[in-house]
Symmetry: C2
Subunit: 220 residues, 2 copies
């Protein structure tokens, strides 16, 4: 059975490869896992020996089919647990990521399936992140962000791709959660400022980096 550390390495390789087939650099992986680069190299070598990922020295890593299967299962646990914490236990969506980081390694497949049923087989978690189904299939639709979308049009927030508690608390306080509707007033590339208008007329200013974390679709 995969240890907690192994599950975390595989999960982060999956997240960093955006679901695609690109190589993930050792630096990015080490950064995501908060370990020094040498540690990541050592661990990656071991995981490659186990056949869970493919290591191209000095270039990066990519999941094997087996590794991907495990990573998707961990991600499914993470996101279903987050959904449970918000929907059933009424926890604040800014806190559930940290909780799920622990629980994702302790929840069995049977509990997972029962949670899934209890919640009505949700497709997204509270942040709008897609939940892989039991077969490991995951919606990977590409959305525009508040940093890249057309201005003036009516939009709906579909996803917030940032897990830090501070960011999410800010988003919550500003009404920027999945499902909320708004439009982009103006975007100043020089100052890096994006101005939003909520349906209630309220205006919010946002840095372009933060705006890039918020995915939207045209309302319709």
């Amino acid at each position: 059975m995969a240890t907690v550390a192994v599950e975390n390495y595989l999960k982060h390789v999956l997240l960093l490869s955006e679901g695609g087939e690109e190589l993930v650099s050792m630096g990015d992986l080490a950064g995501a896992l908060a370990v020094v680069p040498g540690t990541a190299t050592a661990m990656v070598k071991a995981l490659a020996d186990e056949g869970l990922l493919e290591h191209q020295p000095r270039l990066g890593v990519r999941l094997t089919t087996r590794g991907r299967r495990i990573a998707l299962n961990v991600l499914r646990k993470h996101r279903l647990v987050e959904t449970f914490l918000v929907e059933t236990l009424k926890m604040d969506w800014s806190k559930v990521h940290a909780e799920a980081e622990q629980l994702e390694h302790a929840v069995s497949d049977e509990v997972l399936d029962r949670l899934d049923a209890l919640l009505g087989h949700p497709r997204q978690d509270p942040h709008g992140d897609p939940i892989p189904n039991r077969a490991g299939k995951i919606d990977s639709q590409v959305y525009a962000t508040l940093a890249t979308c057309a201005t003036g049009r009516r939009l709906r927030i579909v996803r917030v791709t940032e897990q830090s508690e501070e960011f999410l608390r800010f988003a919550e306080d500003s009404g920027l959660r999945p499902g909320a509707e708004l439009s982009v007033g103006e975007r100043n590339l020089v100052s890096g400022l994006v101005t939003l208008t909520r349906t209630d007329g309220g205006k919010i200013a946002l840095g372009v980096a933060a705006a890039g974390k918020i995915l939207v679709e045209p309302r319709g």
Copy 2:
């Protein structure tokens, strides 16, 4: 923060001391944790240095106040999680012990409190084991067992003190779960056999060791 191993050592010292103040022998502790005796000695020495338990060499160990506080919190998590798995997720009570062994180390105090509220602050888990409250207080009523109680009287099962899946499946199939009513027909100390009569008239034979795992109170 206490590691998983530390939490397990403290929890098992608590369980083996029956809530009382008696010393727990190293052999019993090592057995409960499924480690060799030398491992338990080493770990106990470390925990004593941390001030979590008191080690009397060659005699045994006992929890300190700090160790007891942690152990009770772990036990509370274990039993509330079991209750959640049975009540909310409708899992079989014979399986929830193993699940809770994992989850008890991953559930935060905040999630714990919300589970407690969701379940309506239960006093016992599905096996009838008392759940410590948040302050660490735990019902420690002494009950008779099917091996020690008077024969002929009408009884109610209050608790089944054995966690193994096989035993619990047998108990379930025989209608021996907390709340069930029955009486002890006869008890043969020579053969070690206990005969039970259910309310529906059905008879069940049980070894005296198994009978000792089932706690009862006079119905009334």
